[in-house]
Amino acid sequence: MKDESTGTLELKDGSNIAVIGGGPAGSFFTYFALDFAERYGLDIDIDIIEAKDFNCTGPPGCNRCGGIVSESLIQSLSAEGIVLPSNVISRGIESYTLHLEQGTTVIETPLHEQRIASMFRGSGPLGSEDTEQLSFDNYLLELCKERGAKTISGRVIEAERETDGISIKTKEGLEKKYDLVIGAIGLNARTLKLFENICPSFKPPKTTKTHICEFYLGEERVDEYFGDSMHVFLLNLPNIKFGALIPKGPYVTLVLLGSNINKEIVSAFLNAKPVKECFPEDLDLKSAMPCQCYPSINMDGAKSAYGDRVILIGDSASSKLYKNGIGAAYITAKAAAKTAIFEGISESDLKRHYQPVCHDLDRDNLVGKLIFITTTVIQKSAILKKGLLSMVINEQSKANHKRLMSSILWDTFTGSATYTDILRRTLNPLFSINLIGHTLKTLLTRTNNKKNEKQKVRTTI
């Protein structure tokens, strides 16, 4: 509402907010906006408009994702009093198994405590009959309802700016004017276009294609072959920056990140020896796959993800490169809620208080890109990968040993630390000395082995 005496645009008692999209960003915004409003003594109404039904299995209920809730997000949510229920957690992850062509090693959680969860965004893959398993997105929506938000099932097809608010129209016939509209619509291109109309300087994020599929193995075989470990692959395959197999109840989710992932790239990955060795020999991967998709992922943040009475959050604004997108959604959603409740909802308020948070994420992603360029160099070099493997194995075998490489890999895989923090740690001279040392050692052993082999050949001749 515009205060004519001061010319400011801020929420007042009785103001209403439309949150378009009930994924993590939409729910986090709602949860915190209602919490802050209550603390501040402000009476507001929030409608969440969501097109999907998260109680469905397969695509109609799924916001396509690997389903890892990062260590940093789990800790922040716990401090906020949000503890994930048992039936939302598919598995607690306690280690990462790193697979390279040169070998495999396990990186244990630093405190031997499960602080990472795997979960399903909807109610499981197509055809899933596990009625115990609950959707993560639905759980967050329920928390918002408990706080007093109203959820509306529908797809927004029109948004129009008026002098005293923004009018929203859904395909199902709802027409309503709101004081503030939140765009938590992920990377849905059509809906992002609606926001380009009401926020002229908004430019949607740049994206690339990824791949997700689920394999049904049954709970026992998942236990036996994958355990409570997320399996991460750094293989010398084109376009793939990162591949992971994530155990979830009776399923294992495959996530392939990189650039423009397609069928051929997926097939090359599944046929790679280190990947095949993870699965039971008798399993026909194709027939064990109930669901697969090629969703988009953010590569560059949006430009000006706000305007008078409009804020875009989560994937629609800025995310974290390749990792912890839900954690980034929590950060942008909470920053938007704080600005809307405590500062105001005009473009200039949002520029001053909300934009810096998106900029921080975007800046960190630039560092992330640098880290992934280095990872690609390592991915292509057998010698460097052997050095890396040897360094991790050495660190993991010694208690109380400084775990430089292990902690860097742990934070890169889990997405818990910022890329800037990870880069800072790689600049530690001890890290480089150790990596060079281990690489030289593996080189020397290789040359010695070759010499011995030659000698053997000579003696047999």
Partner: protein, 119 residues
């Protein structure tokens, strides 16, 4: 069915933190219950019971002093730690993360005052 809750599992009666020990992390109960015990006198005095989503050990985040009470699991429990450094890094960027902590600490102070008054 095996619990899928996060955190570290504790058995009934297992000590989570010991009075007098140094400590620098916060604990959040993910599942089950714990009891708060004062061991400074001749006999143990049970001060409180805490349940799911509640936290303890917060003094260790703000003071350099040793743990002021002993905490024991009541039945099977799962408890997650939040390290001091992570916590400070996060509240540096988002001070509102401390709202709930302050609210609970204020509640606890109010309860203690009430107990003193009722004596």
């Amino acid at each position: 069915m095996k619990s899928k809750k996060l955190g570290r599992p504790y058995k009934d009666g297992e000590v989570v933190i010991k009075q007098g020990d140094p400590g620098d992390c916060l604990y959040v109960i993910q599942e089950g219950k714990v009891e708060v015990i004062d061991e400074s006198g001749e006999t143990e005095i049970k001060l409180a019971e805490l349940g799911e989503t509640e936290f303890f050990g917060e003094m260790g985040l703000f003071e350099k002093d040793v743990r002021s009470c002993t905490i024991k699991a009541m039945g099977d429990a799962k408890i997650m730690t939040i390290d001091k450094r992570n916590f400070y890094k996060t509240i540096q960027k988002d001070p509102s993360l401390a709202y709930r902590l302050l609210e609970k600490m204020s509640n606890r102070l109010r309860e203690t005052n009430k107990k003193l008054r009722d004596r």
